[in-house]
């Protein structure tokens, strides 16, 4: 329990540090928001009035604390470009990225686990070698390249879907999910390959240990040893990888979203960076950081649960 608390405290401190750093950097770079909103032709009085209203004349730290307080309450300010609350802008995009991430994660596990188990069990066989080479090849393909090929092959040639014809979840959930299948494949492929390789390696390493040999010699068959003993131990590094994968997926894949025209967090982040819409950039990056750090925390806790040798130190 102490371990969990200590971890949580550490994570919170990290988050705070990150937010402070980002806030200060953006404030220094962003120029005068009042001029951005009112235009260069505005009179100095109007500019000053807007600055007062937005609280821009207060000290940097005061503004930071105020921003932090409102961020925690769920209201990270107003977009410079769209003049809408950032919360509603991002709020619409989060479910999209979430769906894509979960789907990709599911696909990764669905393909990676059996592949890893299979190649571990039949290690050294011809099929195993083929799969390993295939893995290497898949891991070498950049996700956007895979995305383009998938988009072209399944979309333009086979006409299984219309590239770019994103359907919003508000319109039709099945078609929304159906459209997301192909980008999920593009995202899942390299991760599944990594998962398979990692799982195979971890299982093989465990199988060389004394306890595995003892288990075999006790008469357990391969599957029993595999699933009953090896998998539990091999799972720990895999767990770390899965956590990181999910975190990365949730952070959104900018590139895949761009190719398939999916309006998720990454795409709004990308365009906000181009527009220098700092409130949105700040809020989006903070949200992503929260997600990632929360998942890391979860992984750490699970680790502690699964491996009783770890306790607070």
């Amino acid at each position: 329990m102490r371990y969990v608390l200590k971890k949580t405290a550490t994570m919170l401190i990290t988050l705070l540090a990150v937010s402070l750093f980002l806030f200060v950097s953006f404030q220094l770079i962003s120029g005068d928001p009042a001029t951005r909103m009112l235009g260069t032709g505005a009179t100095p009085e109007r500019l000053e009035a807007l600055r007062e209203e937005l609280g821009l004349n207060d000290a940097l730290l005061v503004r930071y604390v105020r921003w932090l307080a409102s961020f925690v309450r769920g209201d990270p300010g107003i977009s410079y470009v769209y003049r809408q609350p950032v919360a509603s802008l991002l709020g619409a995009k989060i479910p999209v990225t979430l769906a894509l991430a979960l789907m990709s994660f599911a696909l990764t596990c669905l393909v990676g686990f059996p592949a890893g188990l299979y190649t571990a069990k039949y290690a050294g066989s011809a099929l195993d070698r083929i799969v390993m080479v295939l893995n290497q090849a898949i891991m070498a393909v950049p996700p956007f390249f895979a995305g383009i090929l998938i988009s072209w092959a399944f979309g333009t040639v086979l006409r299984l879907f219309s590239p770019g014809a994103y359907v919003s979840y508000e319109t039709s959930v099945p078609r929304f999910l159906g459209y997301l299948v192909f980008p999920s494949i593009a995202l899942a492929l390299p991760r599944a390959a990594q998962l398979a390789k990692l799982l195979r390696g971890a299982i093989l390493e465990e199988s060389g240990k004394n306890y595995a040999r003892t288990a075999y010699s006790r008469g357990n068959n391969t599957d029993g040893v595999l699933f009953g003993h090896l998998l539990k131990n091999a799972f720990l590094p895999v767990l770390t990888f899965l956590g990181m994968s999910l975190a990365n997926l949730l952070a959104g894949s900018l590139i895949v979203e761009s190719i398939f025209n999916i309006p998720g967090i990454s795409s709004i982040l990308l365009s906000s960076i181009g527009n220098r819409d700092y409130p949105v950039i700040l809020a989006a990056v903070m949200w992503i950081a929260v997600f990632i750090i929360a998942i890391n925390l979860l992984v750490d806790i699970l680790y502690a649960v699964l491996d009783p040798r770890i306790d607070g130190e």
């Binding site: 990290t14 390249f145 383009i148 975190a247 982040l269 960076i273 220098r276 992503i288 990632i292």
Partner: protein, 282 residues
């Protein structure tokens, strides 16, 4: 026990690797690509930015990979683009690994409060995906190749720091370090002359993986239009531009794409061979 091996024939070490075939294959492909880039430094079939009237031609005798929508020779552009990709990836490694090793060695060796603080900072940085971090840095500084190298380099520091730090923490209690200190070696000498070579095995395999990720990250970022300035295109940007006419001139996408895949693949293969070797050296 001697930790370093003496070699007579520099290439003989390949045979000591558990997977010399893989390593050789990987090295061969890497060498081919590097050769292509090196040739490109002095000669390319055409100027990479020279436009001509032969727009969107397929493979032909005069244009081995065809031409793009502005009539530029794709092969020349691939040679030039690979140069950018390699430079960025290498630069990223220099910054990421260089600084990472220095910081990791220092905090691992000395420990203490500074160690805690540095690791918290690294955690914070580590929490972000590469591409995101690079984007944030680029949004602060502006988009150019140099800025991208810095951005990616900074994004890669935490992982190197961690590996090196854990290795140093493990090694600093070992006997040979105590021996060295007894003989009066200074801290710096211990760090660099004694421990570092033994860390090099693990470090090398991480460098391989890191290089691959740097190549992929750079390709992804340039695909999004960040980094290189048109009309000089990095491989990722070439793919982005050529999406529109993939059907007519597939080599415009496949050419740069294949180079990226081969580069990463070859380094992975070399890494495979080396990783097992790392165990031996340890």
């Amino acid at each position: 026990m001697r930790m370093k091996q003496t070699r007579r024939n520099p290439l003989a070490f390949i045979d000591t690797l558990p997977n010399p075939k893989l390593f050789r294959m990987g090295a061969l492909i890497t060498a081919a690509i590097v050769l292509l880039v090196l040739i490109g430094l002095v000669w390319m079939p055409y100027e990479p930015t020279a436009m001509s009237a032969d727009q969107m031609q397929g493979i032909s005798a005069s244009h081995l990979l065809g031409t793009d929508k502005m009539g530029r020779d794709i092969l020349s552009r691939v040679m030039y683009g690979s140069r950018i990709t390699l430079v960025v990836a290498l630069g990223t490694m220099v910054i990421g690994a260089g600084l990472g090793v220095l910081i990791g060695a220092a905090t691992g060796f000395y420990g203490g409060m500074a160690d805690e603080i540095v690791m918290r900072i690294m955690d914070g940085l580590f929490a972000f995906p590469n591409v995101l971090l690079a984007l944030v840095v680029v949004s602060l500084l502006g988009s150019s190749t140099v800025h991208m190298i810095w951005a990616l380099g900074i994004a890669f520091i935490p992982s190197f720091t961690r590996v090196v730090r854990s290795e140093y923490i493990r090694c600093k209690h070992l006997d040979y370090v105590k021996n060295a200190r007894l003989q009066g070696a200074s801290d710096a000498r211990v760090i660099f002359v004694h421990i570092l070579p033994n860390v090099s095995g693990v470090l090398l395999s991480n460098l391989m993986i890191g290089f691959n990720n740097a190549v992929l990250a750079e390709a992804g970022l340039s695909f999004l239009g960040i980094g290189s300035q048109p009309p000089y295109a990095s491989l990722g940007q070439m793919i982005s531009d050529a999406q529109a006419y993939f059907f007519e001139v597939p080599t415009a996408v496949l050419g740069p794409g294949l180079v990226i895949v081969l580069l990463v693949l070859s380094f992975s293969l070399m890494g495979e061979g080396l990783r097992s070797a790392a165990k031996e050296l340890d």
